[in-house]
């Protein structure tokens, strides 16, 4: 049984610890190249060793939850494209699944399989972007990290091209809707997907080779150790939780979409450190490639959107109640807590709470950073894969 160092108390009194104010208080962010957006960490440094870290999110707070209270269910989807701007596809799915549960809408099988394929493609694209930016954090913008980032962006672009074929948009798709999807599969899309998968698969081996060196290992191994019990308490999900050795993946454990048709092999690594999180994400990319291949052969015929008139306000008026739906996005469990029956004569949510996996992930920095060096801040933060648009909403 592995023993972990005692848990850090993030609220300990720094003035009591350091009455003479000998420590250097360093504000990292909000304008800093490696905080993945506008996250601010206040660090108390003893030399270069971190004694205490305090996180300050909120610099990108746009009041999405308040905005949702004024819009109808159909109007909300495009807003969700913008909140986790690296994986918009899965955001749309998360919020639309909550609407479907509240409104009691059935999604046709064709749309469910299509959503699964889109979610897996989005997972590959998101993890590719993460891999590039993570190595950028370790290697610097002038260095090996930048090289890997250019490669991963090349592959990510291929996947975005696939989404463009389907929806007409590279990024803000607005392709999901309560009750189904808006855009049906265009002609030749499956062949294009297969071609992209075949192109990406060998290149993942090349990325492994680029990351398989001693410098990468010493920079990530035993850095940012997150014990499993703390990971659960903090509400970590997705690759961060699985990198802490907990075998939990909603795609397998609470199947939604068409995940019950396929056998998802969950990547788990009990290293609990940045290296484990890296390994989990790379393994997930390979698994997603396999899943998309398998799902492409299973697309049934039929409509992609339910027959009910989803835009009718009459139907929404009946929507009272409170539901919680969580799905496995590339960053973990993106949940929506939804209270129905608000403005717009009952067609808008009364209260919509987004449960962003990234907010839980960045909350961990206060526990992970103390004891590490200044250089490890960017490694730890990068390995948690926070998207500030999602953290602050």
């Amino acid at each position: 049984m592995r023993t972990f160092p005692a848990r850090v108390d993030p609220h300990f009194d720094i003035e009591e610890y350091d009455p003479e104010a000998d420590l250097m208080a360093l504000n990292m962010g909000p304008q800093h190249p490696s905080t993945h957006g506008v996250f601010r960490i206040k660090l108390f440094l003893d030399g270069e060793t971190i004694v205490k870290a305090v996180g300050y999110p909120g610099y990108l707070h746009r009041g999405v939850e308040k905005l949702c209270e004024k819009l109808t269910y159909v109007q909300i989807t495009p807003i969700f494209d913008k909140h986790d701007y690296v994986a918009p596809m899965t955001n749309e799915q998360a919020v639309n699944m909550a609407f479907e549960k509240l409104l009691g809408l059935e999604v046709p099988m064709r749309a469910r399989v299509l959503r699964t394929i889109l979610a897996e493609l989005q997972r590959i694209a998101s993890h590719l972007l993460w891999l590039g930016t993570f190595t950028l954090d370790i290697g610097g913008t002038i260095g090996g990290g930048a090289s890997l980032m250019m490669y991963t962006f090349r592959e990510r672009e291929m996947i975005l091209d696939l989404f463009e074929m389907l929806t007409g948009c590279r990024f803000h798709y607005n392709t999901h809707s309560p009750g189904g999807n808006r855009h049906d599969i265009p002609e030749g899309w499956e062949t294009a997907v297969k071609a992209v998968l075949d192109a990406i698969e060998p290149r993942l081996d090349e990325y492994d080779a680029l990351c398989d060196n001693d410098i990468f290992l010493v920079r990530t191994k035993d850095i940012g150790v997150l014990p499993p019990d703390l990971a659960l308490e903090l509400g970590q999900t997705g690759p961060v939780l699985r990198g802490s050795g907990i075998d939990h993946d909603l795609r397998r454990d609470a199947p939604y979409h068409a995940y019950d048709l396929v056998n998802v092999k969950v990547a788990v690594d009990d290293g609990c450190d940045c290296l484990a999180r890296y390994r989990v994400r790379v393994a997930e990319m390979r698994e997603s490639l396999r899943l998309v291949r398998e799902l492409l052969t299973m697309i049934p015929g039929g409509p992609i959107i339910g027959s009910k008139p989803i835009k009718s306000l009459v139907q929404f008026k009946a929507a009272k109640g409170q539901v919680y739906v969580g799905i496995e996005t590339p960053r973990g469990e993106l949940g929506t807590y939804l209270i129905g029956g608000g403005d717009q004569r009952g067609a808008a949510p009364y209260r919509l709470k987004i449960r962003p996996p990234s907010l839980h992930a960045v909350a961990a920095v206060e526990y992970l950073l103390p004891g590490h060096m200044l250089s490890d801040v960017v490694t730890v933060l990068g390995s948690l894969d926070p998207i500030m648009g999602e953290v602050d909403r």
Binding site: E65, G235, Q322, Y324, I339
Partner: protein, 160 residues
Amino acid sequence: MSIYEQLRERFDLPEEPPEGEPVVIPVDQHVAFATALKEAGFTLYVTVCAAHFPSVQPKAKKGEEPPPMTTEAWEVATVLRSVGTGSETFAWRVRVERPVVPTLYSLFAGADWQEREQYDLVGVVFENHPDMRRLMMPEDWDGHPLRKDYAIDTRVAPWR
């Protein structure tokens, strides 16, 4: 035996779980309820959602006296999840007429930031929380934006 039946033996819950919304429990049982769930395997802290229900005048039926105003209330819903195969969520609510709810920080470290966010946006104070500051809005912000009586169309700060 389902988790709901297990909990019903220890807490004062309705016979059947309510349809379409989480069960409401008294606020003084909030922490004990969360402890029982954590012991029953719901170890993953998922989320907390506070909502504001202002005092409103319900519509009167034709020819009748208008019913009395509803009292202002806050609801705090907490969601926990069990991990591994067959993972499921369990959500419950507490409904209070004064925005004060005990914190779950001692059980779940993740409640720290989540409860700060709810305090910031909805204005529900979590008792015994070690660090009840605003999380998203500026420190000197007036009011709690997600309250229903928060005026979103008026100018609230000189720079806007």
